[in-house]
Symmetry: C2
Subunit: 334 residues, 2 copies
């Protein structure tokens, strides 16, 4: 049986059993996904989905909406954190306009997958139509398919969208059945008063739409074109049996929807970091996920994936390349 | 003032202030060490010091003493975890025979810095003589000096030595004034009965030598040629204003002695991970250190340094290369 075989290979490496901690679990998981004791990570890629949110006009963020498109331009120019970390860790980076409120000039670094110029304000209507939702799921999947066909088998997801911690909060609150106060946080850095206001607005929205159970409907109501495309992309990556790297709070909310649609996806997922955003710790607990990094970050963009990637790579490398007690002629336990 | 200047550069990068968490602190610290807002990490190097311990014959480890020399051979052949991680993360690796109970054949990958074929058994005598202690401090320093002269400015320390969690426990217990039970742990994986026995032996040794305060004397009594050479090496790295990477429990015990001798060294140190070994969390707390990684590892060899290094490198990269709100024309907070 592959699991026992992998575990025994890991245990017989020249180290006390279990002494590589989480790296041993990661190596085992990747071996199981790829169904081999010699797994390989090929063409690691991070996709950053960007989109605007109708709810942003309610003042739920510290930053104005135009920051979404300005940050996309920053990604295209190589100046954002995710650019730096992807480059340092040799990860391919793709930027997707999933629905930013801006018309970008043609740029071959930008994947156009636009659904509209931002979602509706979910305070008093559904963030997106059924057609828009379905387009998101399909287009997200298509992007992954193309990347997969180029030879990639490990893919991370990040996002940019002013207001999107509000969407993520609503998705989490509904799907985990946890009150809004415990799901939401300061996002880009709200003060206490603004946070209180954000909670009030989100509660109003919840009262308006009522409690829901259907993951697809919840995603439609509280939206985020970037969140929905991420969700479609994750499901497509799972279908292709890729290793899926999950970033922070918003990416995890997209994953939560994907998980509610196809629970098996969790076997292909690595949770790259625990964000400082209030709800993320609780969400990871709900998913029984063990995050790789805890660096008190709260930036998004896939930065957690990029920073965790070297550790994942090292886990695969030890499984492939470390000597065993026998091959190195090291005495095992007394 | 450099600190304010660095902080303001970090705050004006295109991200919410503080959102890169620990990476922001690391970038600030390295800028302060190198006295520049454009720090550089040059020729990263990890030195693994190996040595044998008289106390090993009391059965304080799960593994026989010959594993020390066998693992050194494994290091030289490239088969150990630290080989894999150093290679993956492009870190130079040096192996030092600080006092292993074995006569190695000439090998240009091995630095001979041998003080003897293992220390005395500290159960009933001092682990090393005053002359041996002084030799350790000097030889450890000389090794770092040579590496520094080759252009390296960031150096990590790891170790190998069957029995050396016992030495580290005694050093910590004496210098932190914390009872042995709270400092010691299962090392390579002792069961409950063996752990109880280890604690009894270490208590006996403490009763024999009496409580001490002098860090140099404590290091002499409880020894470890590899621990003492690491301590000398760290002090030398501090003198040269290098960035110092601290690994797990044993490396931290060497650092503790260095810190008690020259407290300023802590400004140059990064604590790469929190080991699963029982005493390490408490020791890091004592040092008010914030570990970069928490991966439930307990292997030593400098593996924590090697795995944390990419994160440190990414921290320096964001400080140097990320765009500012102004340069990227991104709107700052409302």
């Amino acid at each position: 049986m592959l699991r026992n075989n992998l575990q025994s290979i890991i245990d017989l490496k020249t180290k006390p059993p279990g002494s590589l901690g989480l790296l041993e679990k990661i190596a085992l998981q990747i071996g199981l996904i790829q169904k081999t004791n010699k797994p390989k990570l090929k063409k690691p890629t991070i996709i950053v989905f960007a989109g605007d949110h109708g709810i942003a006009k309610e003042g739920v963020s510290n930053y104005p909406q135009e920051v979404t498109y300005q940050m996309v331009l920053n990604f295209l120019n190589g100046g954002a954190a995710i650019n730096i970390f992807s480059k340092e860790n040799r990860i391919n980076l793709k930027i997707v306009d999933a629905g930013v409120n801006f018309d970008f000039k043609k740029n071959n670094k930008l994947i156009i997958s636009k659904i509209g110029n931002g979602t509706n304000n979910f305070l008093n209507e559904k963030a997106m139509t059924k057609v828009q939702y379905e387009l998101c799921m399909k287009k997200g999947g298509d992007i992954v398919e193309k990347i997969y066909n180029s030879g990639c088998n490990v893919i991370g997801f990040g996002e940019m969208g002013i207001g999107n911690t509000s969407s993520a909060t609503m998705i989490m609150s509904n799907l985990c059945n946890i009150p809004i106060e415990k799901c939401t946080g300061r996002g880009t850095g709200l003060n206490k008063i603004k946070l209180k206001r954000k909670i009030e607005i989100l509660k109003k929205a919840q009262a308006f739409h009522g409690k829901k159970n259907d993951p697809a409907l919840i995603l439609r109501i509280y939206g985020g074109f970037e969140i929905a495309q991420m969700c479609g992309a994750m499901l497509s990556a799972y279908e292709k049996n890729m290793l899926i790297l999950i970033d922070g709070f918003i990416a995890s909310s997209a994953f939560l929807v994907a998980y509610k649609i196809k629970s098996g996806i969790i076997g292909n997922a690595l949770f790259c970091h625990q964000s400082d955003e209030n709800g993320h710790k609780t969400l990871l607990k709900f998913l029984k996920a063990e995050p790789i990094l805890k660096l008190n970050m709260r930036l998004g963009e896939g930065t957690g994936c990029a920073l965790a990637y070297p550790i994942i790579k090292n886990a695969v490398a030890f499984l492939n390349d470390m000597a065993s007690f026998e091959s190195a002629r090291v005495s095992n336990k007394k």
